[in-house]
């Protein structure tokens, strides 16, 4: 990229600079630290120049936006054409209450929906199950049947929004409910836009909402890939997520490495199920975290795009450009928020959101200031959304594509992350792939080691967290946090009882038997699940049938 003679001359100049002015300044003032590192422990040099990029090749390493290897972005014009989708993750209480929050967010200029489900829904229990006690409607909305989905999207035409659903083990069931709802609204399935998270592998290591053992879970994933490829051409059949592993403590390099390793496993499973790579790969999507180390995060996103393009092209022989594109959603880092001086979190979220935008995200959720303490109030969510809108309309960063490209530091860091991720993926391949690595506890241990190191660094003040271990003030516990209605659980139980009383229970039994047979055999499960859903079988009933056929996952405790 640079002229050889010019580099040689620069090298001499830099050498003289280090021996001269730098040495003199160091002698007089020193530096703040012996060594500087990124949040992910990557070494940071005093100065980056073309010397660090001597081996770089612009066409090979960066290319043009919208072209292989997509380092600079997946679209030719990026945010000059259309801004990223502003998509706040929301849901709590019951379907009616969440429906009101969605309408509020849409009125405020949000451009996509993102549904948070409560834990019983995510783990396949109805609201009246004994294990659901205390959890109904707490971290998301309680959905027991298609009847709840009808309330959740009441007055929201499904061909007018894109909807992301954070649902994993029972993803096929919620997808079937959404499709059933579309039919009721008279919306053709090929008009549906959205995403199911459907990423079970990371649940075993970080997020914890697994139900079935890995093998049948992977079959459900492949079944949804095939179903979506056939029926929902504009739907993302999976959102392969680094977010939760990062929140559980791993660093930026590990986040990309473990996410791509999981992605490789999904592609392999689908290929083994007989699917053609270019039929399903265009609908794979990703989900990353955005932390405070701005330039490291930007480099991370760029490196991830480049790595995935190469994996798809070289490892899996994908031909379509869309199969090689890493499209991703970003959420700002919940774990970086502090309960102390919560207004400081608005500043953190701004930096994190900026990193996501400079890194070329397709959609973005910004956290609210009090989320270290509780679910956010309407005011706080509005402020978080306004943060995105200020970046979009006032900062100017979206007016040109990939504006930080060519920064000596960002390019060097992009390459450093790429090299380290490649080494991790090789290691996981050696272990026999990500499923084996999880079985052996390798991924879990890596995450925990990073989490523990981080905690020790915070407690020793080696890592400054403003307001927590430095610049502290005496403060009262915050008031006016969002309180959930304690009656939600009781009302959901009543609703279920009424549903079971008015539906055609014989028909429910027949459709559940259809699900059982499909689970025991090899046919695609999604159409059978759809029949059960349309008969108003509950999520818990369908999951019970699947638990009966598949068994449940027994986690090994690694710590």
């Amino acid at each position: 990229m640079f002229d050889r003679d010019a580099l040689l001359s620069l090298e001499q100049q830099k050498d003289a600079w280090e021996r001269g002015p730098v040495a003199k300044t160091l002698e007089q003032f020193g530096e703040r630290s012996e060594q500087f590192r990124t949040t992910s422990e990557l070494p940071v040099e005093r100065l980056y120049t073309p010397l660090e990029l001597a081996e770089a090749d612009y066409q090979r390493d960066q290319g043009l936006p919208g072209e292989y290897p997509f380092t600079r972005g997946i679209q030719p014009t990026m945010y000059r054409g259309r801004l990223w989708t502003m998509r706040q993750y929301a849901g709590f209480g019951n379907a009616e209450e969440s429906n009101r929050r969605y309408k509020y967010l849409l009125e405020q200029g949000q451009t996509g929906l993102s549904v948070a489900f409560d834990l019983p829904t995510q783990i396949g229990y109805d609201s009246d199950h004994s294990l659901s006690r205390g959890e109904v409607g707490k971290v998301g909305v309680a959905i027991d049947s298609l009847a709840d989905m009808e309330l959740l999207f009441d007055g929201i035409p499904l061909d007018q929004v894109s909807t992301s659903m954070t649902i994993n083990a029972p993803a096929a069931i919620l997808l079937a409910m959404y499709a059933a709802l579309a039919r009721k609204q008279g919306v053709a399935l090929d008009k549906l836009r959205g995403t199911i998270q459907n990423d079970i592998l990371k649940e075993y290591v970080a997020r914890g909402t697994y139900i079935f053992p890995p093998q049948p879970s992977m079959r459900l994933v492949s079944d949804t890939f095939a179903f979506c490829a056939e029926q929902l051409p504009n739907w993302n059949s999976i959102s392969i997520s680094g977010y939760h592993m990062r929140e559980a403590g791993c660093n930026a390099v590990q986040e990309v490495a473990f996410t791509l390793a999981n992605a490789i496993a999904y592609v392999q499973a689908a290929l083994e199920a007989g699917l053609d790579v270019d039929t399903f790969a265009p609908r794979l999507s990703f989900f990353f975290d955005a932390h405070n180390d701005l330039l490291e995060e930007v480099s991370k996103f760029r490196a991830a795009r480049k790595l995935w393009a190469r994996i798809m092209k070289e490892r899996f022989g994908a031909v379509k450009a869309r199969s090689q594109m890493l499209r991703f959603h970003t959420q700002t880092a919940g774990s970086a928020l502090t309960a102390q001086q919560p207004d400081n979190n608005v500043v953190r979220v701004t930096l994190q959101a900026l990193a996501a935008v400079l890194g070329g995200t397709q959609s973005l959720h910004t956290n609210s200031r009090e989320e270290a303490l509780a679910l956010p109030t309407e005011d706080s969510v509005r402020l978080a959304l306004r943060t995105q809108q200020v970046i979009a309309h006032e900062s100017g960063v979206g007016n040109t594509v990939d504006p930080l490209a060519g920064s000596y530091y960002v390019e060097a860091l992009t390459r450093e992350i790429e090299d380290r991720v490649t080494a991790y993926i090789e290691k996981i391949d050696e272990l026999g792939g990500t499923a084996r690595a999880i079985e052996q506890g390798y991924i879990q241990r890596e995450i925990q080691e990073s989490a523990y190191t981080h905690q020790k660094e915070v407690e020793s003040c080696e890592r400054v967290v403003v307001g927590l271990n430095k610049y502290r003030i005496a403060e009262e516990p915050p008031t006016n946090l969002l309180r959930l209605d304690p009656e939600v659980e009781r009302r959901e139980r009543e609703k279920l009882e009424q549903l079971r009383g008015r539906r055609d229970n014989a028909h429910v039994t027949t459709t559940l038997e259809g699900v059982r047979k499909a689970a025991a055999g090899r046919e695609n499960l999604v159409p059978r699940i759809q029949e059960a859903v349309e008969a108003y079988a509950t999520l818990g009933e369908i999951c019970d049938v699947l638990r009966g056929e598949f068994g449940v996952h027994q986690a090994s405790v690694v710590f």
Binding site: I123, K138, Y452, L468, V557, F559
Partner: protein, 132 residues
């Protein structure tokens, strides 16, 4: 004979999958010389009380970030009492609003640690509270 060590059970009641804090604390307590057992996810209060009694622990640390703490933590305290193990110190941790802390304390939870608490605070609290 060697001196007796403080035995701690770290437990995740309910359906919550956030276990970063539980695991970090488990390691910190172990590094502070205690014997630590971690239950893993999705334990019912019944399972936790049974494990605590069988393992003859001095302390049970409950972690919950899903908002179900008011339902789950006091239930563990009650069950320990039923097992005749009400000498076990019960601690809570997680995203717990200030007004819930007093409720939990009234119902037998000795102390509640919220986001930003250091592992050293917990270590010191346990050492102060457990008399071997």
């Amino acid at each position: 004979m060697g001196e007796q060590r403080i035995r701690v059970l770290i437990a995740k009641p309910g359906l919550d999958g956030h276990d970063r804090g539980a695991k970090v604390l488990a390691r910190a307590l172990r590094d502070a010389g205690m014997e630590v057992i971690y239950t893993g996810l999705r334990q019912t209060p019944e399972q936790i009380a049974a494990t605590a009694t069988q393992e003859d622990v001095h302390v049970v640390g409950l972690s919950c970030l899903s908002g179900a703490h008011l339902e789950l933590f006091p239930r563990v305290v009650e069950l320990l009492k039923e097992h005749g193990a009400d000498d076990i110190l019960v601690l809570g941790g997680g995203t717990i609003p200030a007004e819930d802390i007093s409720v939990l304390k009234e119902r037998g939870v000795a102390e509640v640690f919220t986001p930003g608490a250091s592992t050293q605070e917990v270590v010191e609290f346990v050492k102060r509270s457990v008399n071997l």
